[in-house]
């Protein structure tokens, strides 16, 4: 099943996809174009991975890490499908990051990798923008570069874990203004999803609804105001976002 959260006719609704339409909880079928898409999840804690694809680490001239590079993100960052993300006027290098997002089903502590899939509710697509101009070498990637308002579009759908099958063999693609500009496969993650759940739950509790953004492959290119950025993951969805200016 594909689930969404949308604003429609003055209220917020949970919805599911039915024959290309959105069905609200009360049974109404509405056109996808008539809703405002909201993030499909409302996590307590948002985890993100840096340098989790060897080709991306190489592209940025970093050694591949020997331990997951994990950082956290605030709820201010999340944005729905077809939203707009602001590009700071003075910046020279802001890029998208197409990432498979794992949504937790239940509380997880001391979970072994081989049991990790029992703890996953489903998957969605995230685009975790970074403004590289603002990177500093303290708790890097630091918040000014990576925790900006509405700079992490997520959605459109939360897709059930059963409908995706093996999440470690999915193609990720990013299109800017219709042109394919980033392509990779989740099979090239350095630390795969079961490992990440074992790692994180080994020292802290993950909660139902928490999200893990699993990193991005190579292909980081600057985006400009007016660009339409589509991040797409096989079997999970196609997330659209537009870059706007500061005004």
């Amino acid at each position: 099943m594909k689930r969404a959260r949308v604003a429609y006719a003055g209220a917020i609704h949970d919805a599911v996809e039915v024959r290309g339409m959105l069905q609200l909880e009360d049974g109404r079928l509405v056109n996808q174009k008539d809703v405002v898409w909201l993030p499909p999840v409302q996590p307590h804690t948002i985890f993100a991975l840096g340098l989790n694809y060897a080709d991306h680490a190489k592209e940025l001239a970093f050694q591949t890490p020997d331990e997951p590079l994990v950082f956290l993100k605030g709820p201010n960052t999340l944005l729905g499908h077809r939203g707009v993300t602001r590009r700071p006027a003075a910046c020279t290098f802001m890029h998208y990051e197409c990432e498979l997002a794992v949504v937790m089903k239940c509380s997880a502590r001391h979970v072994k990798a081989e049991k990790a899939f029992h703890y996953i509710e489903g998957y969605t697509v995230a685009n975790d923008y970074v403004v590289r101009d603002y990177l500093e070498n303290y708790y890097r990637p630091n918040f000014r570069a990576k925790n900006r308002d509405a700079a992490t579009p997520i959605g459109p759908w939360l897709v059930d874990v059963e409908d995706v099958g093996d999440p470690m063999d999915l193609t990720l693609r990013t299109f800017v203004n219709g042109q394919l500009i980033q392509e990779g496969s989740t099979k090239n993650m350095i630390f795969n999803i079961p490992y990440l759940i074992e790692y994180l739950s080994g020292f802290m509790t993950l909660n139902a609804g928490d999200v893990i953004l699993t990193g991005t492959p190579k292909g980081a290119v600057n985006v400009e105001v007016g660009d339409v950025v589509v991040t797409e993951i096989e079997k999970v969805g196609k997330l659209e976002n537009m870059i706007v200016g500061e005004d």
Partner: protein, 263 residues
Amino acid sequence: MVNCIIRLCGRAQPYEATLNINENKLKLHNEWMTIDHFALDIPITGTVYGTLLNYKGAISKLGEAVYEIPYKKPPEAPILYMKPVNTHLAHGAPIPLPADVQELEVGAALGLVIGRTACRVTKASALDYIAGYTIANDVSVPHRSYYRPAIREKARDGFCPIGPWIVEKAAIKDPNNIGIRVYVNDVLCQENTTANHIRSVEELLADVTAFMTLFPGDVLLTGVPEGAPLIGAYDRVRIEIDGVGVLENPVYPENKSMEGENQ
């Protein structure tokens, strides 16, 4: 006497109470009682953000290292981190000491509790966005490098005792000049003042909300002073912040800190 907001275990709603810090008493529904009488729960509900290196002594302790690899230059924007929900702990509840760790660092921090949505606020108006103040113990596994986010060091379960209440903004005349003390087993181990902040409360709020919005109920910790006291199993740590109150927690081995927790 100051007004404060408390949450009580077993009650969904917050309560307004009056606090007498000197006499260690709270007045609820017109009756004064000692603080120990109340089962105080975590008073905050939002996201908790910490600020790295906001004490002059903390940055000067790094010395020339800020010009060397990996840092290369001193920090420019506020360096933040999160204390996620699994870290939040009530006044009095035991801080779990993980099995793989001998000692923990105490992070005595003033918490600014946000009262209304704060986005791109100016220094001049910054205090208007504060509802009140609280105390946090920003506990960490000791770590020397600030290069990578310290999730495994700062985000473990129970690593952010916070409370015991939120004192109203009017209780603090100048948040940039209040004393902070840490006692371990009743011995004074650390003393500092928010007068040693690099960014004042107003500057910090302006510089943080320049790139990220703080929502009502969120808490921004203004930093931890240099020379963090260390605590181990069965120690008792008490943080006093003038005008805000006293936050006290014992430290227990992780497997004894919460009944019924699976290993």
